[in-house]
């Protein structure tokens, strides 16, 4: 079943008009999925949920609260907009120390109930469901912040996502091993933000079931990575199956890549391999990043940027 994608290059028409674009389908890929919230700001991105989430019936009314940490004004504005578009409640701060302050982190005594802990229901003034932070920040890096959060009894169940403009596999590895859920390469896109919801739901589930601490202990990093890998694949597949074909404009870059894809159904072996990749080849998900990292390759997305130069900081 082949549907062609046309490039929408019209300013504002993207948002406000009814375009009759067709999608190029290269099974099992969907290209450039975007949340429905483009049309109605108040609607939540149901695309990324999949059948498993719908079954949970948890999403309903409560908005997830995301704390975004970045020393760059522009990036803060960008991430705020991305998160708000995805119907999250957003707080932005410009440093790791301010983030910890906001989270109610007490460096003296880790067991003091924090304002932001999901476990301590009697202190619900500030409830943060996810922290997304830049890696390169003066004084306290995103990695330092991650360590502090994961090292705090009160805060460690809060999922943490790291963003960085540099593609350094060792850095990515280190962050994931320390417990980061995802590692996004900047500039962060809507497709990246769409990956956040499962992490927040997972944590909410854990809290609502009130499991003892031992159950929510971080597993061995490798096992966790594999699990997350599988989870991502599962989510991706469920997402793919449940998404109605949406009219979605794509970009120049995307279109180039689409056109270069052979218009033939793939062989079963290839298909299996392809399923490991994210549904939107030009837009890197973290499956690809992690996989790339494991393979020692650099993700496609950074190649045009740095022309093969990766820097160590």
């Amino acid at each position: 079943m082949w549907i062609l994608v046309g490039l929408c290059f019209q300013y504002k028409a993207i948002i406000s008009s009814h375009l009759h674009l067709l999608l190029l389908l290269h099974p099992p890929f969907f290209i450039s999925l975007r949340p429905l919230s483009e049309k109605s700001p108040s609607s939540s991105p149901s695309l990324c949920m999949g059948s498993s989430v719908a079954a949970m019936g948890m999403v309903s009314d409560s908005k997830f609260h995301v704390l975004a940490v970045d020393d760059s004004v522009i990036d803060r504005k960008l991430i705020e907009r991305l998160l708000k578009t995805s119907s999250y409640q957003v707080t932005t701060v410009d440093s790791g120390s301010k983030a910890l302050e906001f989270l109610g982190y007490d460096s003296g005594n880790n067991s003091i109930p924090s304002l932001a802990s999901n476990h301590h229901h009697h202190h619900q003034e500030v409830d943060v469901n996810l922290v997304i932070t830049d890696y390169c920040m003066p004084e306290m890096t995103g990695y330092d912040l991650l360590k502090k959060i994961k090292g705090s009894k009160a805060l460690r169940n809060i999922p943490v996502v790291i963003m960085s403009s540099e593609n350094v596999p060792a850095r990515i590895n280190r962050c994931l091993e320390e417990g980061a859920e995802e590692f996004f390469l900047k500039p962060v896109r809507l497709s990246d933000v769409n990956r956040l919801r499962p992490h927040m739901l997972k944590t909410k589930l854990k809290t609502s079931e009130e499991q003892p601490d031992s159950a929510s202990q971080p597993q061995a990093p490798e096992q966790q990575q594999h699990e997350q890998h599988e989870q991502h694949e599962q989510h991706e597949q469920e997402r793919l199956r449940s998404i109605p074909l949406q009219v979605v404009p794509t970009s120049l870059q995307d279109q180039d890549r689409l056109l270069s894809v052979p218009l033939l159904p793939t062989l079963p072996q290839e298909q299996e391999q392809l399923q490991i990749l994210p549904p939107t080849p030009p837009q890197q998900s973290n499956n690809n990043k992690r996989k790339a990292m494991e393979d020692g390759l650099s993700p496609d997305r950074t190649r045009p940027r740095y022309n093969g130069i990766t820097t160590m900081v």
Binding site: F9, Y11, I15, E38, S72, I74, L78, P187, L252
Partner: protein, 157 residues
């Protein structure tokens, strides 16, 4: 039904955008910015871009000041400024500016003062060109808004 003027303005804007993409001045990230603009945040792109202008001009000034220092050029500080400029350029889709930053950073890492001066010239030039083009783009957009006579953003029927 759109007025004839509005159609023409939209065509002008598309043409300008296409040119900027073709020249590599802007890249796909700029489109991402546009896609984030909606009724609840109608001026998002111009707000972000204006912040970018302010920040970039400050950083460019700092870079020039660092290079004028004949005695001891602080390459580390230069690297920090460049990383900032690179990051923000990347975030708004200012492709060419970002690429010049990369070249600049390479010079700075080699403590190559002459090279740095050269790339600074190029950087300033690229930045000026980008700024003027984006202003042009916003002007066309502004005209469209005024011409529509309805609340921003325009709605097509």
């Amino acid at each position: 039904m759109l007025g004839f003027g509005a159609d023409r303005l939209r065509a002008d804007m598309n043409r300008l955008l296409a040119l900027l993409f073709h020249q590599g001045i802007l890249d796909e990230q700029f489109l991402q910015l546009q896609q984030l603009e909606d009724e609840s945040s109608p001026n998002f792109v111009s707000e972000v871009v204006n912040i970018y202008f302010q920040e970039s001009e400050r950083l460019l000034k700092n870079l020039r000041a660092l290079l004028i220092e004949r005695e001891l050029t602080d390459y580390k500080k230069m690297g920090n400024h460049l990383n900032q400029l690179m990051g923000s350029s990347s975030s708004i889709g200012a492709n060419r500016v970002r690429n010049v930053c990369i070249a600049f950073r390479a010079n700075s890492e080699q403590n190559n003062r002459a090279g740095c001066l050269g790339t600074l010239e190029v950087l300033e030039h690229e930045y000026c060109y980008l700024k003027s083009k984006l202003h042009e783009l916003f002007q066309i957009e502004q005209q469209r808004v005024l011409g529509a006579g309805v609340r921003y953003p325009m709605h097509q029927n």
